[in-house]
Each structure stands twice: as C-alpha cells, then as structure tokens.
C-alpha cells in the first residue's frame, strides 16, 4: 500500500514555508513526521536534559503542525523531542502539546515514547556482553556509566510503530534515529524496506535534499518498489543530483546506513527525474541484521569559567602566541602558589581568535590580523574553583607585559566583568550499541488523553 509522508522541515524550531505545508496537507498525507533534534549542537542538551531551541519558537511551530494534523486527520509524530530526546524533554514537549491542545480546543490521544536508559540497565547489559563499541568508542566502566547524567537509546521503526499502534493522534518520541519516524509507517504497511529507509534518510533534513534547502516542506510517496520525493515549496525542486548528494550529508559512509535491526545499502540505487521537481528512486536494499540500538550518553567533565580580552597593539598582536604562552606559564605557577592547586586539578588555556582560534595546531595559514581575541578557558572539578581561578588571572589578562622593562599595557575587556561562568562542561561518553532480544525491552510507551 502506498504511503504518503509529509515532512514539514528538517527540525522543529527552524521554520517552514506555510503555503508549502498547506499544499502538503491538501494532498492527503498518511502521516506528518518531523525531527526534533540531533547531537549536532553538542553534548549540552543531552547532558542537561534541555532543548536548545526556544520554547516560544517550538510552541509556535508545533501549534501550526497540530492544526495541520487536525485538518489532515492523520497522526503527527515528532522524533528526538527537545533536541536530545531525553525523558525530561519528552515531558517538556508533552507539556507544550497539552497547552496548545487546550488553547485550540482539541481533544487528543497522545503517546510518549521514552528512550531514557537507567544506568543499571546499561551496566547489566555490559556485564552480559550486550554492549558493543563502535569506532572510535570511549572506554566505559560500570562506574563511568553510573556517573552519566543522561543515557538514551536511539529507537528505530519498531518502537515508533508500537506508539502509533496505540491509536495516538500525536506521538512524542524521545531519541529516535533521524529516519525512524519517517520509515515507521511505510514499513508497517509493507512498502519496500530499502525504499522506506532510503526515502526516510533523504527526507530527514526536510528540503535540504532539494534546490531550496530553507523552504522546509518535503513529501515522500513510498510504495512496493521504491519512493518518489518532491518539495512542496513552489521555489524548490528535487533533482537526481540534489537527492543523491544528500546521502553525503553528515554521513561518514554515503552508501551504508546502520539502523536498529539491519542496514541500508544504496550502492545500487537509481535516481531518475520524473519531471523538473520530482525524483524517483529504486534499487535501495535493506539488509536485516542483529537487533541493536545505538546509545548516547553525556557526563559532566568539569566546570568552566572563561575570560575574553582583545589585543589591538601591533607589537602584542605580532607576538600574541609568545605573550599567551608566557602568561599561561606565569598564571599556572600563580594558581599553584595562591590556591594550592596542583596542575592536574585544573586546566587553563588561551585560544587566540584571529590566529588559530578555530583550528588550533592544525591551522596552516598565517596572517597579519588587526587584532587578536584572547579567550581564556578555565576548567576545574567545581564551579567555585573555576570561578576563583578566573578571578585570580583577570588582572594579568588585562595588564600582562611582554617584557619586564616596559610600562604595563592595558588590553580591551569587552564587558564587565570580563569573566563568565559557563557552568558544567558536558562530554559525550558513549559510542556504543546495545543488543536487544525484544525491540521494546529498552523503551516505554505511555498514553494520555489531553486538551479540552
């Protein structure tokens, strides 16, 4: 049975073309699916269990999608709710959904798919040999797992299908693979599995697979032999090149994509233009394998304070690296002397913006910058220690001289205080998969009635 999936945009919170969404609804989709996150912005979201997008933007866009859902009369699914898909962000999204349902006077059945993993479950799986490292994987121990602030497992199509099977009009998923929310229904209805996963990968970033990436809305029609993709904004077109090139995007391997229960192989896929804006894809292969789910985990790696100064004097700009190295050595000695901290108990780094701020030791280019930004980053085991260190170094970052026989220079502090407490530094601590006998063994679905 052919399945029409409407994808309003690559992620909730980044906007979409309203006219295109309306055209998509008018074409009677079978499901509306949108992604709510990724690891792309770093470990903070997962570590803290918070969305990176503003609540106001999320609510405004979700309201439009809830209205579109009511008009289409089909399920609306969000994957990786609240950027990281932790249990806390699923609840955050459910709370927003409830508010909107009341405001719109909608009465809804809402399913929540929880993907958060109690550390004890992961520790037990590790002991049973069901946790396998991917490459490259951080070392893990039972103690390290227990110290993680959030662990999620990436749900695949099976868990999303189970949530849809509750009869929910809205499904709020925790962490899912980017593709699972799109492939779930076509797979359930017996469409070609290779086409289901490949089409889902093509559509997961919305109109990024088209010639107008910011227009958002994409429609994929899945069937028994493949899929057909088209953008719904009038200004956008899908071409064989724009569609096939999307397999490159954020993929370390453009031909093979691992998912729970197997992998997609697109080496034999053929891309054909049906007209100027629609592309037909056939020949993608789904290769079933062991049922594993990928794990993501984040833990606190310390607490940070930063300080920013700008060097504008020509001599200091020309000698910025030497100056920063001397300053760092002097400050490390001073921190040791005044605070009694060993050099293993903190780190102090000066990054030179204008010299090699983004690339560090890999930088190959040298220039003659007008000014150099000096970003001092202090990391310590506690915030109060990091804060105190940055206060200690503050006057020296402002006045440190290149030589002893010169008047003290004064650099530019852009604001007062020049230092900023960053709070916890989170780091990704898992790049592993967990084998499951039953896809639902590590996931939980709850259903509630909401709204007016």
């Amino acid at each position: 049975m052919a399945t029409r999936v409407l994808v309003p945009s690559g992620v909730l919170g980044l906007g979409f073309d309203r006219g295109a969404l309306a055209r998509g609804v008018a074409q009677r989709p079978d499901i509306i699916a949108i992604d709510g996150g990724s690891t792309d912005s770093g470990p903070f979201s997962l570590g803290a269990g918070q969305s990176k997008y503003a609540r106001a933007a999320t609510k405004a866009e979700w309201r439009e999608l809830m209205e579109a859902r009511a008009e289409a009369g089909v399920p609306l699914v969000i994957g990786t709710a609240g950027t990281c898909g932790a249990d806390a962000t699923v609840d955050w999204m459910a709370e927003i959904t409830e508010e909107i349902a009341r405001e719109l006077g909608q009465r809804l059945r809402v399913a929540r798919l929880y993907c958060g993993q109690p550390p004890a479950r992961i520790v037990a799986a590790l002991a049973e040999g069901r946790i396998m490292p991917l490459s490259p994987a951080p070392e893990i121990t039972a103690e390290g797992i227990a110290a993680m602030s959030n662990i999620v497992a990436l749900a695949g199509a099976e868990q999303v299908q189970a949530a849809l099977a509750t009869g929910a009009e809205i499904v709020i998923c925790g962490r899912t693979t980017d593709t699972a929310i799109i492939s779930a229904l076509p797979l359930l209805r017996g469409d070609d599995p290779g086409g289901a996963w490949h089409g889902a990968k093509i559509a997961e970033c919305g109109a990024l697979c088209s010639t107008n990436p910011t227009s958002g809305v994409i429609q994929v029609l899945f069937d028994a032999t493949g899929f057909t993709v088209e953008p719904l904004a009038e200004t956008a077109a899908c071409t064989p090149h724009s569609v096939s090139a999307h397999m490159l995007y954020e993929n370390s391997d453009p031909f093979v994509l691992h998912e729970p229960g197997g992998h997609l192989d697109v080496r034999e896929a053929r891309y054909r233009a049906l007209n100027g804006r629609r592309v037909r894809v056939e020949g993608s292969r789904w290769v079933p394998g062991r049922y594993t789910v990928k794990l993501e985990g984040a833990r606190i790696a310390g607490y940070q304070s930063t300080i920013l100064a700008i060097l504008r004097n020509r001599r200091y700009v020309a000698n910025a690296r030497l100056w920063a190295d001397k300053l760092r050595a002097a400050m490390c000695a001073r921190i040791e002397a005044k605070m009694g901290l060993q050099q293993t108990e903190f780190t102090l780094e000066f990054r030179l913006i204008g010299i090699d701020g983004a690339l560090g030791v890999l930088e190959t280019r040298q220039g003659d910058p007008v000014e150099v930004g000096v970003l001092g980053i202090v990391t310590a085991a506690r915030q109060d220690v990091a804060t105190d260190i940055v206060k200690l170094i503050n006057p020296f970052v402002l006045h440190y001289p290149l030589s002893e026989d010169e008047e003290l220079p004064t650099f530019a502090f852009p604001y007062s205080p020049a230092s900023t407490d960053r709070g916890a530094l989170y780091e990704f601590a898992l790049n592993h998969v967990m084998a499951l006998d039953d896809p639902m063994a590590a996931f939980r679905i709850e259903v509630s009635e909401m709204g007016a």
Binding site: T39, A245, R351, G357, T364, N431
Partner: protein, 98 residues
C-alpha cells in the same frame, strides 16, 4: 592552484559526535578526474592530523564528489574541541595546493 580554486565547493561537518566528513564537490568531470587522481589520502590525513589508515575515502564519479571521513581529532564538545560543528576543517583542504 589550491583545491578550493579548482572545485565548486568544499564542506565539512560532523557525522555524529565522533566523526567528521568532508565533501569536495568538484563541479565537472574534468575537475573530478583531476582531484581524484591528485589529492592523495596521505595528504588529507596530514592536514587533518589523523593517521592515513583511519581515513575513509569515497570517489563518487556519479556526483563528481570526493569524500573523506575521519574520526574527529577531538570528540565533539570535549574540553579541547574548538569547532562544535566541524565546519572549519574544510578550509584546510580548500587552501591546500593541489
């Protein structure tokens, strides 16, 4: 001539927190043939500070794309990371002499 001057576009981006992937869109069959032949994997590995045996390379003639994927020199968001999204590594290849 630098690689950036010869091709349409070079982009880099995270492929998950542990990998970075660099796509060189050559823009023509001729540019693809030249880049594919002349850009050694060892040179790319050196620019990215990675052992050559860890570099995955894909020469995709259908798209006129040469793609490299390497384990991130620093895991995304770790203390020593300088570029959360990994988009600046493209500049190292762009500015390299072909």
């Amino acid at each position: 001539m630098t690689l950036g001057e010869r091709v349409l576009k070079v982009r880099s981006k995270n492929a998950g927190p542990f990998w970075v992937t660099i796509d060189i869109f050559c823009g023509s069959d001729a540019a693809f043939a030249e880049v594919s032949a002349r850009l050694a994997t060892e040179r790319v590995a050196e620019l990215l500070g990675t052992p050559a045996q860890l570099v995955k390379r894909f020469d995709i003639a259908d798209l006129n794309v040469v793609k490299f994927s390497v384990p991130r020199p620093v895991v995304q968001g770790a203390r020593d990371d300088r570029d959360m999204h990994g988009a600046q590594w493209a500049a190292l290849l762009e500015e390299a002499e072909l």
